[in-house]
């Protein structure tokens, strides 16, 4: 666990005090997050970052999601890891695409939905083994703006002979993908906690049939199931961070742990969103009550970057590609 965790948690709690309850989005907060240098935690100070470790960054991402603060921090921090800190007062975003040919002189591809691309400066494209940086403000980049299920701006991006920078000295695509996967898992876990905390409070306070809802066994069981699954996903996540911050951990083991954390988090997102709404009843679906800030994020993030099934499919394929010894000793260890 991050040694600065408590200070960072405190910082995010203070930041959360001025969130707009209905949208969960506050542009001024994102500016503050940028000004505080939170986006570049985990990048060394001499490389223009804020210092600290990956675990510190993940605490910030998780706590922001838990507080319901919606920002591009997952995309921006991973892009910064891939191509270096953003220019002053801007941020960069990121997309995963296994089809784009990153060896061509210019890029031509449909990239699909890219979060926050309308406001970002550069776009990091993560391919199978390479990454590229594309300047968004150029003729070869066409964007059709829309929003995702959480209400955040995304753009359908088409590249047509777009100029790009290949990044021979940047971290390899696998490492960037690992960071993105961890960051996304952190956000999902934070949001799941946030939804759980609201639900727990609600079933204690809300009285029906002459007693708090939690007195109904089916309600307390559903609450316990959420708690058990959150604990499970947190274990998966802790294991992944431990392996990724420990020098010399075997690559296959890291892959197994990070992918497992992401798959477990996505499964948690589905369960928590469903149960949180069920236990809240009608008030949970109102704009006024804050639950949707979490549940809509959970619905968006479980399939963000790549769909949940892409992660589990890769993990299953890898389990079959190795023998049982390697499966047990590395992927399952």
């Amino acid at each position: 666990m991050s040694e600065f965790a408590n200070e960072l948690i405190e910082l995010i709690r203070n930041l959360a005090k001025d969130t707009d309850d209905q949208s969960g989005q506050a542009p001024s907060q994102w500016r503050t997050v940028q000004e505080l240098g939170l986006v570049t935690i985990g990048i060394a100070e001499d490389a223009g970052g804020s210092g600290g470790g990956l675990d510190d960054l993940l605490v910030v991402i998780r706590e922001m999601a838990r507080a319901g603060i919606g920002t591009p921090i997952v995309e921006a921090s991973t892009a910064a890891f891939a191509i270096g800190p953003p220019k002053h007062e801007t941020f960069d975003t990121i997309v995963v695409n296994h089809l784009v040919n990153l060896a061509a002189p210019t890029l031509t591809a449909r990239l699909g939905a890219v979060p926050f691309v309308g406001e970002a400066d550069r776009l990091v494209v993560v391919g199978d083994s390479e990454t590229a940086a594309v300047s968004i403000a150029q003729a070869g980049v066409a964007i059709e703006m829309t929003t995702d299920v959480a209400g955040f701006p995304i753009g359908q991006v088409r590249l047509n002979d777009a100029a790009y920078q290949s990044l021979p000295t940047a971290p390899d695509a696998g490492l960037v993908m690992e960071r993105l996967t961890l960051a996304r898992s952190a956000a999902i876990l934070g949001s799941a906690r946030g939804a759980y905390e609201l639900t727990r409070r609600y079933v204690f306070e809300r009285e029906q049939f002459g007693a708090p809802l939690v007195k109904i066994p089916a309600i307390s069981s559903a609450l316990a199931q959420m708690a058990v699954r959150i604990r499970h996903a947190e274990s998966a996540f802790d294991r992944a961070i431990e392996l990724c911050t420990q020098p010399g951990a075997p690559a296959l083991r890291r892959f197994g742990a990070v992918t497992s954390a992401r798959v477990t988090a996505a499964g948690l997102a589905t369960l928590v969103a469903r149960s949180a709404h069920q236990l809240h009843g009608a008030v949970g679906v109102t704009q006024e009550y804050g639950l949707h800030r979490h549940t809509r994020n959970l619905w968006a993030w479980r399939d963000a970057d790549e769909p949940e099934r892409a992660f589990s499919g890769r993990l299953g394929a890898m389990a079959l590609a190795v023998d049982e010894n390697t499966l047990w000793n590395q992927i399952l260890a």
């Binding site: 316990a224 998966a236 010399g248 690559a251 079959l320």
Partner: protein, 382 residues
């Protein structure tokens, strides 16, 4: 992800990267199960820790010092930590080895005697468990006391020099092969039902102990009913304090829930499915398999966290209840996966064996519904 082929490989892929002492324990177990398997001395099977009984195998483990691994050296134990024991137990389960003879004594009754038994009782019983001379069965459930364990009616009445036991126990696995029974009995019925319970160790050869088989739906015989008619139990066979049995047994149950046998009961079947999918080059189930892999790797981690907590002197009661709840669901989902992946035709034996054993997974050692209520209570208190 492309990181797989890269990164610095400090450890070979053959071993779980961990402390060398743990690796040595793993290798010891693998050598033993490997050679027994090669010689055809056992068939790997699901639910081996309850159903696969072979005293010779348990004695081989004993000869290697692998039973009572965490117990003090004074009694012949290994003096190691809970993590060392976890490494041994998960390798045994992975191999589907015949471990039922020593499992209950090693996991549960030895530790109970260590926590609460008198020094005399410890010296009398622990070395025998460690040598796999003593085989324990569990006299807990009764015809009228299942999930509601505090409802036990078996009575132990104080007499000169000890106690006289009368009553019936049921669902007592391996009682027909056990040398000793752990017994939860009522020593005082004047108070509330959670008061007045006490724990004992009873010789299965004592006059008045009778065992009758209860074959289960697979046709196998592991369950029994055990009746006690005026069975004399010497005074020193009381575990801990008379009347303190409820607190002691709850502690016993909450610790024993947190082990890998709540996760790996069907691992031998999962190995069969993997082999089947590899041989048939069938990639239609990658996604589903990936989900199981994610769950299993996380459950193994949770077992590790529980062992760590025990080593740090904490009581991971909620963690163990959570693990058992999720772990037994995983065990059952493996069977369903095997079925969907088309195993029924080619591996009917292994699949059917696991399936017929599976309803017990989420019942024994605390039914899932009861476990959820334990977690719920802690969430309410939190």
């Amino acid at each position: 992800m492309s990181t797989v082929a890269e990164g610095s490989e400090r450890h070979g892929v053959e071993d779980v990267p961990e402390k060398p002492s743990l690796g040595a324990l793993r290798r010891q177990v693998r050598e033993l199960t490997g050679s027994w398997l090669a010689e055809g001395r056992y068939m790997p099977r699901s639910d081996c820790w309850l159903r696969s009984f072979d005293l010779d195998f348990s004695r081989e483990l004993a000869a290697r010092g692998l039973i009572g691994l965490t117990w003090p050296e004074e009694f012949g134990g290994g003096g190691l930590d809970a993590r060392s024991r976890l490494v041994v137990t998960e390798e045994l389960l992975r191999a589907g080895a015949p471990v039922a003879a020593h499992w209950i004594g090693d996991r549960q009754i030895g530790p109970t005697i260590l926590r609460h038994g008198s020094h005399k009782l410890q010296r009398e019983l622990l070395p025998g468990i460690i040598r796999a001379d003593f085989v324990f069965c569990l006299g807990m459930s009764e015809p009228e006391a299942g999930s509601d364990l505090a409802a036990v009616r078996t009575v132990a009445r104080k007499v000169d020099g000890g106690w006289v036991v009368n009553g019936r126990k049921t669902w007592t696995s391996q009682a027909h092969r056990a040398t000793h029974a752990y017994l939860l009995a009522r020593t005082d019925s004047t108070g509330r039902k959670h008061e007045g319970l006490s724990e004992f160790v009873v010789d299965m050869s004592a006059p008045g102990v009778e065992v009758s088989p209860i074959p289960d739906m697979s046709g196998e015989h592991h369950f029994n009913e055990v009746s006690f008619t005026n069975v004399f139990v010497p005074g020193h066979r009381l575990i801990g304090e008379a009347g303190n049995g409820w607190r002691q047994v709850i502690e016993q149950l909450s610790f024993e829930r947190g082990g890998p046998e709540r996760v790996l009961s069907t691992y031998p079947l999962l190995k069969d499915v993997l082999m089947h999918l590899r041989t048939t080059r069938d990639d239609r189930f990658d996604t589903e398999l990936g989900e199981l892999v994610a769950r299993l790797s996380t459950l193994r981690r949770q077992c590790w966290e529980i062992a760590e907590a025990l080593d740090e002197g904490r009581a991971p009661i909620i963690e163990a209840a959570s693990l058992k709840y999720l772990g037994t669901a995983f065990e059952v989902d493996v069977i369903d996966f095997a079925r969907r992946a088309g195993l029924s035709a080619s591996y009917e034996g292994a699949l059917a064996q696991a399936l017929l054993a599976s309803p017990g997974f989420s019942i024994r050692g605390g039914a899932s519904d009861v476990l959820l209520s334990i977690v719920a209570k802690s969430e309410v208190r939190a």
